[in-house]
Every structure is written in structure tokens, then in C-alpha cells.
């Protein structure tokens, strides 16, 4: 890791903390996806990694590359903007789909009228 040695110590500590924080949040989100009981509980868990985990990791990347190159590099923000825009759309559509399918299954399970 020769290029990382060029980082000053404060930047190395900040990047290390942000990277660990982001990875830990994404890990907790995936653990929730595995462990929680039903679909409507599970849909909440991965958003922890999508929002805060990604933002910690993007902040780490911005800090690292800005300090390394000696000029502000901000185009990692594009990923954050894109995820913030698209995650609610997909998850709301997915939950509406699940509701629709659950209602259809419930309607199929109940016996029809005479």
C-alpha cells in the first residue's frame, strides 16, 4: 500500500473510521435482511446500508482521494445522489407489489361465494 502511506495521519484515521463505520452499517443491514421475520420487516433492513453505509463510504473515498491528489474530488457524490433518488422508488414499488400479491393470495385462499 504505497500510495496510502502518502496520507497524513489524521486523514488515515478519518478514512479508517469512515470505512469501518460504513462496512459495519452495511453488514448490519444484510444481517437484518437475513434474520427478520417477514417481508414487511425485512424491507427496512438493507436501507441502513443503502443510506448511511454508502454515505460513510463515499465520505471516506472523497477524503482519501482529495487528500491524495491535493485537490477537491467530488464526483463520488453522484453515486450518493443517484442512490438517494432511486432507492425509495424501487422499494415503494416492491412493497406495493408485495401487498398486491399478498391480497391476491388471500383472496385465492378464501372460498368463493355461492
Amino acid at each position: 500500500m504505497s500510495h496510502l502511506d502518502a496520507l497524513p495521519p489524521w486523514a488515515a484515521i478519518v478514512v479508517a473510521l469512515l470505512v469501518l463505520c460504513g462496512a459495519l452499517l452495511a453488514f448490519i443491514g444484510s444481517l437484518g435482511l437475513l434474520r427478520l421475520g417477514n417481508f414487511y420487516q425485512r424491507v427496512h433492513a438493507p436501507t441502513l446500508g443503502t443510506t448511511l453505509g454508502t454515505f460513510c463510504m463515499l465520505a471516506a473515498s472523497i477524503t482519501c482521494f482529495s487528500v491524495l491528489h491535493g485537490r477537491p474530488i467530488f464526483y463520488e457524490i453522484l453515486i450518493g445522489v443517484f442512490l438517494t433518488l432511486t432507492t425509495p422508488i424501487t422499494l415503494m414499488l416492491l412493497v406495493r407489489t408485495a401487498l398486491h400479491r399478498d391480497r391476491e393470495a388471500a383472496a385465492a385462499a378464501t372460498p368463493p361465494h355461492e
Binding site: I13, A16, V19, F27, G49, F82, L93, L94
Partner: protein
């Protein structure tokens, strides 16, 4: 000292992210219904994108950020199309 801390932190973060990806894959294989599998795919590509960012920090190349951007874009399209398919039975009406 702080640089060895950074190296250890990055390796630990990659290990955690790999564990998270394997949890998503387990949920995708096990998921009782189709929407669980789609949700697991969504979590899987977000984890893969974060993993690419850590690899970018570790190797010092900005190209990995662009790869992460492409993964975010295509993952959104994939999840959206799958959710739409589950909803209506067809992707484009």
C-alpha cells in the same frame, strides 16, 4: 501506526462486506417468495458497490468509483424491472 490501522480497517471492512453479500445470497436462495428474492438482489448490488469503493480506496484508483456508479445504475434498472414484472406480469405495458 495510523497507516497500519488504515490497512487493517480496510481489510476488516472488506471481510464484513463479503459476509453481508453472502447473507444476501442466502436470503436470495432461501427467500420464501419472489419479492424476498428481489429485495435480496437489491441489497446484494448495494453491498457490491460499497465493496468496489473499498477496493478503490485500497488500490488508489478512481476508476472503481465509476464502476460503482454503473453498478448502482444497472442495479436500479434491474430491481425496478423485476418489481414491475411481479406487479403486472409484464415489464413494459
Amino acid at each position: 501506526m495510523s497507516h497500519s490501522l488504515l490497512g487493517i480497517a480496510i481489510v476488516l471492512a472488506q471481510f464484513l462486506l463479503l459476509l453481508g453479500m453472502s447473507f444476501s445470497i442466502i436470503r436470495m436462495v432461501r427467500g420464501p417468495r419472489a419479492q424476498d428474492r428481489v429485495l435480496a438482489l437489491d441489497a446484494l448490488y448495494v453491498n457490491a458497490m460499497i465493496l468496489l469503493l473499498t477496493i478503490g480506496i485500497r488500490s488508489g484508483s478512481l476508476l472503481y468509483v465509476e464502476a460503482g456508479l454503473i453498478i448502482a445504475l444497472l442495479g436500479f434498472a434491474g430491481t425496478f424491472a423485476l418489481a414491475k414484472f411481479l406487479m403486472r406480469g409484464e415489464v413494459i405495458e
